[in-house]
Symmetry: C2
Amino acid sequence: MSILAVGSIAFDSIATPSGKVENILGGSATYFSLSASYFTDVRVVAVVGNDFTVEHESVLKKRGVDTAGIEHANGKTFRWGGQYLENLNEAKTDFTELNVFESFKPQIPAAYKDSKFLFLGNIHPGLQTAVAKEMNAVRLTGGDTMNFWIQGALQDLRETLKYVDILLINDGEAKMLGGERNLLRAAQKVLALGPKALVIKHGEYGATIFFREGAFGIGRHPFRAPTLPIDEVKDPTGAGDSFAGGFMGYIASQEEINREVLKRALFYGGVMGSFAVERFGTERLQSLTREEIEERFEIFRELTHLE
Amino acid sequence: MSILAVGSIAFDSIATPSGKVENILGGSATYFSLSASYFTDVRVVAVVGNDFTVEHESVLKKRGVDTAGIEHANGKTFRWGGQYLENLNEAKTDFTELNVFESFKPQIPAAYKDSKFLFLGNIHPGLQTAVAKEMNAVRLTGGDTMNFWIQGALQDLRETLKYVDILLINDGEAKMLGGERNLLRAAQKVLALGPKALVIKHGEYGATIFFREGAFGIGRHPFRAPTLPIDEVKDPTGAGDSFAGGFMGYIASQEEINREVLKRALFYGGVMGSFAVERFGTERLQSLTREEIEERFEIFRELTHLE
């Protein structure tokens, strides 16, 4: 079933120990959409400037992504520069030029209103809430956020969390949002804010999903999907959004939403994140096959599977 | 089958966010032996001073550990003080008093020479090698080390690694020893130094075992055992040695040593490490039952197990 992704489209300049690129296509909506496109139909709402060309758009279109919701504004597209030279697990931002993204107000095309799944990429929580309120046919909403909003827009974020069924954040964000250094207790605090489930991403160690009591079935334990250590992480940019795309995309492709589906989705999230970092930018996500995805899913499953 | 553990016995003074204790029984050989005692017979070689009482020894004896190999030297027992107030994942050392441990030369009792399994706790690699050379009936040797020896006694350590079948270290140590920031490549470099397998411990994220090509059976992929996030980590001291005790103890309890056994051993390692941190010092490791261990093993297995 169709999934609507709202987020950013950006041009990124990135330096990693493996090399350097400038002004390549990126942004949360881009990574999410490409990743989810291997599982289901994807629609995007985002904003770009005059420098966003037909070739850029074709990257999404080639993967069947519906780009009618991309707003073309007068000005330059959002630009971000960062590097991972010291630490592959954390970007050091060199510059942020919001450009047309600064005044972004997501406009949902009428044709998108029947979307059954919604992903709220990492934008201001006030905008996330506005989108969530407009989408009345949605079965499940996934959402992302970051330290910047947890510190600077907590009241807005708390409101957003009432509309988010599954929040996907990393360890540091979970501890900050939960106000607890212990991950389990932080997760419990975050779930008390609204989400039915919380996915905490651990970078190279995989991800854990915590469930609110009684949500998506029975059981008191969280579930963890590992990732396989890979030979060379070329560019970590977009790993989290690619994870979210695999996770949400797989869920949207299933008839039912239950714990077993969410567990498998967590593995697919890890699979897509691990592909994303193998090349700079979106390169690897543009050229995958479903067979490659299934093969890696099997490897990840066997990674922790006892006979 | 019997396992011989060589390492330290210490009195620890520890401060964590959960509290503070002084001069409690600790040391690598202590944690390892108590943990392994739930799986197999354990013999210890270590050194203590005049302040090591019958009550201290009874902690080990009550768990059936053979303490005949503990040398009683004239002086004080090794003392360590540390705290985890800022970071539960890394101890900040307040003081180290080596005392009788400074001139420790492991003496293996004749009755221990038939031990089929050997664990070389974290002591000077020169001493580890001397012990390994003396033990001729050993089927499998496990070993630990730390940054201090990697930086300060690398040539000795390289010699030790020729005698170690399975090395157990953490992420930072593996990267330092392998001279690589990428974990997979670091693991490959470490395996090239001698060990047939390398266990890298990831703290709260579990552990991964990497195999040398063709060692312990067929297969090109590593294996990862997760741990369950726990509610309160009271005291992380000894988690690594408790992990090693569960890992080696389970292996020693099995007829055959193959990949499936090593995979299960990795889970048991995580189980024992997770128990150790629930109370200060060795308290939790003194009072476990095999049923509690099996119950947690099942929880950890289900944590990543897809139907």
